[in-house]
Amino acid sequence: MEETIHNVVCTVCGCCCDDLEVKIKDGRIVEVKNACAVSLSKFQNYNNEERIVKPMIKKNGEFKECSFEEAIKEASIILAESEYPLIYGLSLTTTEAISKAVELAEALGGVIDNTTSVCHGPSLIGVHDIGVVTCTLGEVKNRADLIIYWGSNPVFSHPRHLTRYTVFSKGKFRKERKERKLIVVDVRRTATAKMADIFIQVAPNQDYELLSALRMAIKGEEIYLDEVAGVPVNKIEELADLMVSCEFGILFFGLGLTMSLGKSRNIDAALSLVRDLNEKTKFLIMPMRGHYNVTGANEAIAWQTGYPFAVDFSQGYPRYNPGETTIIDILNRGECDAALIIGSDPAAHFPVSAIKHLTKIPVIIIDPHKNATTLISKVVIPTAITGIEAEGTVYRMDGVPLECKKLVEPPSGLKSDEEILTEILMSVKKLKGEEKLYE
């Protein structure tokens, strides 16, 4: 039997491209159309030798395969007995699963954080301070005549962003490349910079200075210097003129701003720049969110707790204090005594000091594939892959929710993240004597 499923939502980056065509023959994916290189790699490799199909528990340093019941039980005991457990990851799963994870964090009196902490956490902190003027990607596609990527290289990180939503997209009112200007600000001449009409090479860690100089230029104030952040002042003034004279501008910013010196203050400056610009023209700003449902993680955690990430339930109510309740800080200080990781690989992406603490505590990981974190885990629970073998809601980077589909059956016995988290939650409540409350 052969069928083609249309309008499939891609579950790789925050673009959440919803126009994939997936051909299925005898229950297997045989062809994928419209996908970028990273998405194609996902479809080609999701069932490779690194796929885990059986749950495992580590005993005396060796992994032993076990049943799902045993793995859920072991995980629940570790979590229920822990004083200050940490739940982390959650940007590569469905919003429904994230919602369950919040309930679990509350039941445990632990901390729940998502990968926002190490990507656009500073952006959200900036938004708390300043507010944000934003829009949907559809508006950008139809109207934007000036597009800026600052500290972001979408050709690599969000490969179809330019063709679907910005300079190469065919919008209602802006149809051709020549009707839009592309400006790239980065420390290197990236692949995206090479396509730009104007490339501004900013010195590392000096984005705040450049943003501030731009704000001055936009207000018509004189800058008594030859250059700022390695950029000649006449170029800054030229850029300011372009920004003021556009009809609909958008500033997309990436981790070049959030991970460099200044962090949330860089975002404050960028948000303020866009606010200033709105006194003269229409200008918007949007973070280039990385994983396909990192935005959903912020949404779901915020509905339930009031805060978008780094939420601590140890006092019995939700507390949020980035720098204190964020995963890197908790690990650096060696505070948590167990961790549940869902769809993330912190052991491959955290600084050494943070990984070191993870190797000292019992870690439970829910993930479809082997990764650096599975190696240091005590309990490994394999899962069906969201957007291929499991359905659910994901949030595109502009906050638009999309339904991702189940295309094929998962390997026998594998459940969705949501189902596994529900089972752990029920088991934890039982262990803590709260099962009646739950029912």
């Binding site: 190490v118 956490g121 490969p159 594939h369 650096a372 190696l375």
Partner: protein, 129 residues
């Protein structure tokens, strides 16, 4: 040579990540250091030779790659991943975010030195198996 270290995403890192964290593709695409061609000349390093990157926080041996995004004199780039972790700055300055970019570093030729595998990196961090 004193440089500023930037870590970040690359298309090849993304493709390698989906191919699998233990795949040769991931190793080839991530255990690398991109340098400005002029800096490579000054250091007397050819593409494909190994370099050592040292920061206040650690050191790592990587394969030198000629940057396709030059000129960026004095800036080196390592893709996100286990190798970059060994040299990034864990300090969050109260923001939750470590310094992944703009870190002061030094780069040296390291022709004879071996690049650790992902498993060896983890063993190094945890201090044994």
């Amino acid at each position: 040579m004193k440089v500023k270290l930037i870590t970040g995403r690359s298309l090849q890192q993304g493709v390698g990540k989906e191919a699998g964290k233990f795949s040769q593709e991931y190793f080839n695409n991530v255990a690398i250091c991109e340098l400005d061609p002029n800096d490579m000349e000054a250091l007397n390093i050819s593409p494909g030779e190994n370099v050592m990157v040292k920061t206040k926080f650690g050191e790592v041996v990587l394969k030198a790659v000629k940057s396709a995004h030059s000129p960026h004199k004095g800036i080196i780039f390592i893709p996100y991943g286990p190798w970059a972790n060994l040299v990034i700055d864990p300090e969050t300055h109260g923001s939750g975010m470590p310094n992944f970019k703009g870190i002061e570093a030094e780069v040296f030729p390291a022709k004879g030195e071996k690049i650790l595998t992902l498993i060896e990196v983890l063993e190094k961090i945890s201090g044994g198996k």
